[in-house]
Symmetry: D2
Subunit: 340 residues, 4 copies
């Protein structure tokens, strides 16, 4: 049983904790945060299924004052664990790294941190090997993680030369009042960082693209145009995607009309928090553009990176030393399997 801690108990941190708790070969020692945010209040209302550590000891009174039990400090948590998953706000992870280094504790950072915080920029399916034994890993962001699942699967089948992607981004998470967009599509400077990040993980692919923010809260949609070494037809692509445990092929004809259908379906499935780990591809969107192929992916932004974070723990702690074994364990414990 490897011991894991989580720093930052927000949208991602909560889900990382839940994900670790589902791995039968990992023990979640606790989570760290600063203030009685809604997730921390919910943790208390649930009866503290996870121990909470204060990330800023001098602000511990914020938690004490509202009667939320505190089990110690982040620094104490770091000493108890083999690896930390850091899901704090961008920039905080770099500071926390000093604590991790002080105690020789490995750590996995999230997409918001700068690349130089880590030794390896990691994706479970695309470069598991690079993470094996690494001390500091950084995961790709939600869009990039999901996109690479698809591009890597195609690449392993027929080789990917280049891709031009349009990202139709949800602008805020459900319940987020700090960011927002009202009746507007916001254009970002191209190329988007997801294309650049993809090239860091898959340097042999030429990637670029445009990102547009849209006023919705559930799921980015990405429409990559992919140039392959050998022309790929719709049926072949479907076969590859259906065989992938982290890709769900859905059909408009079955009622999956858009990103909100997938969120609804995850709730109807009874998934905790209404989360979905898989990206989805709409069967009816797959088309050839000459010898290129194009399709639409749904990225469930709140939960999509959880499996790859579990993979990162497995690689860093050498729990499994091959990609296939590593991702298979994660998939097993998170209940993901090929549906093809």
């Amino acid at each position: 049983m490897v011991k894991v801690g989580v720093a930052g108990y927000g949208v991602i941190g909560q889900r990382l904790a839940d994900g670790v708790a589902r791995q039968k070969d990992m023990e979640l020692v606790g989570v760290a945060d600063v203030a009685p945010t809604l997730p921390v209040r919910a943790l208390a209302e649930k009866g503290m299924p996870y121990k909470l550590f204060t990330a800023v000891p001098e602000k511990r009174n914020l938690l004490d004052d509202v009667g939320i039990p505190v089990s110690g400090t982040l620094e104490e948590l770091v000493q108890e664990v083999d690896i930390m998953l850091d899901a704090t706000n961008a920039g905080v992870g770099a500071k926390n790294k000093e604590i991790y280094q002080k105690y020789n504790t490995k750590a996995v950072f999230q997409g918001g941190e700068k690349n130089n915080v880590a030794d390896v920029f990691f994706h479970g399916y695309a470069n598991y090997e690079k993470g094996i034994g690494a001390d500091y890993l950084k995961l790709t962001s939600c869009n990039t993680t999901g996109l690479i699942r698809a591009i890597d699967a195609i690449d392993r089948a027929v080789g990917v030369v280049k891709t031009a992607i349009t990202i139709i981004r949800r602008v805020a998470d459900p319940g987020d009042y700090h960011r927002g967009l009202t009746n507007a599509l916001q254009v970002a400077e191209a190329p988007n960082h997801q294309a650049l990040d993809l090239m860091t993980i898959m340097p042999h692919v030429d990637a670029t693209g445009i990102l547009i923010h849209t006023p919705v809260t559930h799921g980015h949609i990405i429409t990559p145009v992919v140039t392959t070494k050998k022309k790929m037809h719709k049926e072949e692509l479907l076969e590859i995607f259906k065989a992938h445990p982290r890709i769900r092929v859905v059909r408009l004809a079955d009622g999956f009309l858009g990103n909100a259908s997938l969120f609804k379906y995850a709730r109807d499935l009874g998934h905790p928090r209404g989360d979905m780990y898989e990206i989805a591809v709409w069967e009816e969107t797959i088309v050839n553009s000459g010898d290129d192929i194009m399709f639409a992916i749904n990225i469930p932004q709140e939960a999509v990176v959880i499996p790859e974070n579990m993979d990162a723990i497995r690689a860093a702690l050498k729990m499994q030393t091959s990609r296939d074994e590593g991702v298979a364990k994660t998939n097993e414990y998170l209940g993901m399997k090929a549906r093809g």
Copy 2:
């Protein structure tokens, strides 16, 4: 163990089934629907925790063709149960009633049906007694159910003379692509039906109001101005609401910034589907207007009527013959308790 069936496995029907399954003194015999909608597909993907009956036998092939197991017909289900919860689309319930009558099976209809489908227009807290032993009950709609919880609580404390309510209505449920509103507030003719419905349940109260549709999916907000027999101050109102197991008092200062915060919080609590049964009242919105009192309520439209439906079963089947005992059992099994 009373036996219960559910007709219509949509937004409300799914939650009714889940609610019945949580009542230790009830047995959910099965649910009925017609087509392989997303909820029905999710039921199958979960391994059929509930038996499915076809509501339209001649369309059974719709389910068979996609491999969803069918346990019989609605008519068969009706014969096996003591009471049906009918959550079909508006108008279908009236037709289904013929089947219920044929087998002398009691039934509870939802807010969308016309009042004359039922003998009693029912609300667990406001008129439980009227439902005792009744054959056909109709529940109030989501807004009215939640609103009456608050108005009834005030009424029992100091007496309510009249109320003028503004309903700020979410226009569609999450995942609903058939209704929608984009960058617009839509005004409805006054008085709204919720005020009229409230008067049917609480005939001694003079109610009226205006309803505005807004482009959001999580939770109606209602701002009633209530004229009481005896002036009520904020602290008294808070005390009453905190003592009510189906009302949750929340604070802006704690991070509950709007309707989306409550949906998020329910997800963070790990509630199935991210549902919340309680209405919420924001502490910082309670103000006196002269001798009247005004406040803002959140109505979680997908789940709010579930407890009162359980109450209706209890009343109709005389499982508990007093309001206090009836609602207490529902509250116990659904995990709702006073937080005051």
Copy 3:
């Protein structure tokens, strides 16, 4: 011809300039701003119908560099005019006041400034007399301005005792990317400032209320519950509102389905910028709550304060020394008239 300058050429400043330009007894000397914002770029593309002055001389190069002609500095503009309309961002007006005072130039500030920037908190219809000859006036904000038009009209007819208002607020203006709200209703602490501001202008009225932000860009909707000295019926209220040049009575039955219909209609009318100066009241929303009366108002937030600003100039410069004459001139030049 009185001479007028405008400081701040944003959403309000542009419309103030247009409004002044339409007053046959006023001369718009120019507008002041700092940077080549979209409104300033549009002014240039239109061929500079208004002269532009730089508000921050040391940043004049921002304008020069993109070839936008600058006619001088704000300080020079202030010396050329009889009165300044200050529509700068909140807080800047207080600083600008030093310049206005230096040259004994009167000024009108907008709702975002603190009350103490001015000698008089002004509303054209409700307290014109207080503004006569005043040096520094502050206008009410958009919601309050529109609301007072309605409440003042009722007050003059039968006397208003108190009002409890629900404000359903649009969260951002069209084209605003800096504020936003996505799939959420945001609750504000009660009482809202609009109720408090109303009492500053109409101290004999007891006002309170709740404000909810909604993710739309066109027009706030307010639903006041008004307690009058003498009960008022729908037909009487309609008569009063139809006789008011700044109130437009509309009907759902005619196709005015919500706030977006009014914006559309203003565009269809060919109004510059698609603006509407009148508030609207939906006929079908007027209901009695006991002896109180309730209705729904639309507030076109971008343009509603323009008429009252023109009134403020008239009062401050004693162009008309009675309310009726003052507002009549504004109405005439802006094309507003009773439709009753």
Copy 4:
């Protein structure tokens, strides 16, 4: 002076009428519609700048009853004009065609009609020649019209082989309460009809693509990936687009942050109805994907087709018998010119 009539006075019909009224070599005889919709009411409130004809004589009372002056019937209008612009709801145009044929009146149909209603599927810039002297023309829809402007410009410069387009579609027009989408992105079956339509106009180009509906009202955004015969770099593309009178190159750095900025800017420019005829291309979105080029276009859906409709009149009535002369006249009268 050629004589023009407009059938259907809705979103497009109003703008067609305004467009014709601005052509110095055309006379707008009148517009036809059925009911007192908001546009028709606005026409009346403006004092009937255009004569109104009833499209359904037996329903003329709908207009008479509310005092809107009617100048005759659609059939009478058709006899008075050289050409009709038909902007009625999809399917009505096909019926109206019988009237047009009866009186040998030419007609231009809009994108919603089926292709077989017309002899020529027309685009002013891409195939003006085909429309010369034609009796019945059909215009491309808003997205296709704007998209073809860009693709045709590239094609004439270096030759276009294929294009894979992502259309991020606004789901409803401002003020539209009949369609809507709330917190959801809706995926359409690929390839989208715009790609197919493009190939009808430009048969030598291989086009496909995916369309996603988004909950906004102002301006579609399209991100085409274009494979050219000769690689094109950003600077060349900018030069071509800047030289095109119907394409506006804008920059994020100048404050054009998305589709809502362009609508705002058109309002700030004082354009009637806040309309913009030009498509816009964001300079910072232009990127090469290998030898392909990709960029983001804004399509102002309400007004974009107006210029090409004017072109269609010119071609059909042989007012100008070359593309360059035809589009130049339209551009002159509508105030569009190259900004390069």
